[in-house]
Amino acid sequence: MKNIIIAAGAAGALAFCVSVTQAQQLKGEYKLGVLEPLTGNLAAQGKLHLEGYELMRDLINTRFGGVMGRKLVLVVGDAPDPTAAASEATRLATREGVKIITGTFSSILCGAASEAAARQNVIYWETSCVDPRFTRRGLKNVFRTEIDGVGFGWYNVEFIAKYLAPRLGKKPNELRIAYIAEDSSYGQGVTEAARERAKKEFGMQEVALEYYTYTTNDLTPVILKLKNANPDVLHHIARDQDAILFWRQAREQNFEVKAVVHAGATGYGNPGFGKALGNESNGPFALSEPGVAFLVDKLRPDGQKIEHAFREALKAKTGSDVPAGGHQLAAGGLWLLKVVLDAAKTDELDKFRAAVMKMDVPVGSLMNGWGVKFDESGQNSNERVQHYMLQWQNGALVTVWPEEFTSSRAKWMPLGPWNQRK
């Protein structure tokens, strides 16, 4: 036992020395602005994202040579609403002197923050917000590593038509589909993209469409409408507590549907959904970054290396090696920024942009199994930003699709009665 302790101590000391040596090799600091909502309604997700950035920052500094050979330092601003996002972006640029700002996760915030960054001639590197308009404003300083709402809608319909429909015993054009969503640009962007593809490409039968404000405290009228519409599949884009509220009230009203499909790290994609509902959460699907049962070894060697490193760092900090969507989006985006900066060797906009456009990395090469191919608008492509369908199974978000990336399989298709989803 004593020998084991000594060996462990020596290994720890060696790891510490290596880390210190690597940290000492870094010359100077590189300041990066980070904007996240750390107070207010969006704080829970904002803090998850910040935790993801911080974990990745530490990994970059201790194990991956910093950024352009310098130690990465995060300068954090709180952005609980669009006004604060714009003023904090300005402060980070003018007072802190950062040349790149990353954040803000929310579609409510990213537009205002990036406009303010553009006015200061600062690069805005979005890692999470999915508002389709974000990269359609002709801003040359704006880049997004995550897919947009149109991409979410595209993936969801792909899953419904090619995976769910046969398992529900129907052809895609026989499926009755209902759409409900919170009414921000996130909910509307994803929903409208899904509606268009579902109808034009697969001829699905749309039986209901409802938008609501995500701070609502009653979704019973929506559920009663859905009961009357009797859909096979419910496409629900929820932001936060509205997913929990809907699920509880749907159970109370005994609303039964064959499948529920969501997209994003919020709502059904938020770990809080399972924590709030326990095994009652069984059944809904959420398109997101990989969850439980993800086969890391199916990635390319570079992707495996960073994915394993991140999961180890997360486990050391939180005790769990299964990252939340917020962790993955922030950390994956920051890792890609490091790769670009190392390639560009500068944060000067023109050269940085040229380096971004030059990148052509296949799926599986980065964290979350992502690849890279940006278009001229600054948007990473749907095909390269590999996404995964997760399903709530006994309190965990389990990866179920594409099947080649997971050791688990989807359950409850159709969902069946509430008391039999065990």
């Binding site: 938008y211 405290n217 009228p221 809080g272 924590k275």
Partner: protein, 262 residues
Amino acid sequence: MRVVNFAHGEFLMFGMYGAFWAFTLLHADPYLTLVIAIPVFLLVGWGSYALIMRPIVHTSHNVQVFTTVGLSIVLQNLALVLWSGEARFVRTRYYGSVVNIGEAVLNLAQAVAFVLAVSATAALFAFMRWSYAGKLMRATAQDRDAASLMGIDTDRIYALTWAVGIACVGAAGVLLAPIYAVYPTAGLQFVLIAYIAVVLGGLGDMIGALIAALIVAAVEVIGSYTIGTAWKEVLYLLLFIAILVVRPAGLFGQRGAEALGV
């Protein structure tokens, strides 16, 4: 007191957290917690009056508004620091139980909250109408100077009034905890609609506020179902504006009723 408390929603949120922690740590049923929460929040109300409201109760409305808005932000962020932004849930044994009334399906906790809220309103009405302390509160509201001349300690009456208000909202928070998620900004979703009900019913009229709340709820639910969920706020706010245009003192209020304490 004629003070609009913009931190009311945050006291509600603390009531919800009280029920959550009592349930999580002590396995106390929220309805048992309610018995303890009322005196606790009475003390919290008394303390918050002494510390924060007493110095500003006779100042301009602007100062009162900024103070209570500031208090609201402080309480929200205090909860965020203490308990994070994560949503919590009080999952009682009966949290999924429903009550069927004809074809309508109600959550049991909602039905209980409704019954207890109506009972509390009736008890508060009786307290204000018939108890000695209630009469003192109404007398102070009608004319503070005259009340002082009659020997009423108006400062204590203000403290009592504030404390009773906080006790009521604390109790409401406990009742809502088994129904809604608990998180630092949980109170915000209830305050706007609560203000609308109070003003619509007529400031100072408790029964009016109760009836107005039922009207707002009916408009919200029926409008959501028949027209569209995105329209629900529009519908009850339009109704609110229309009624105030016709009856500026609210449905059941009289001009200056809040000053008369009736």
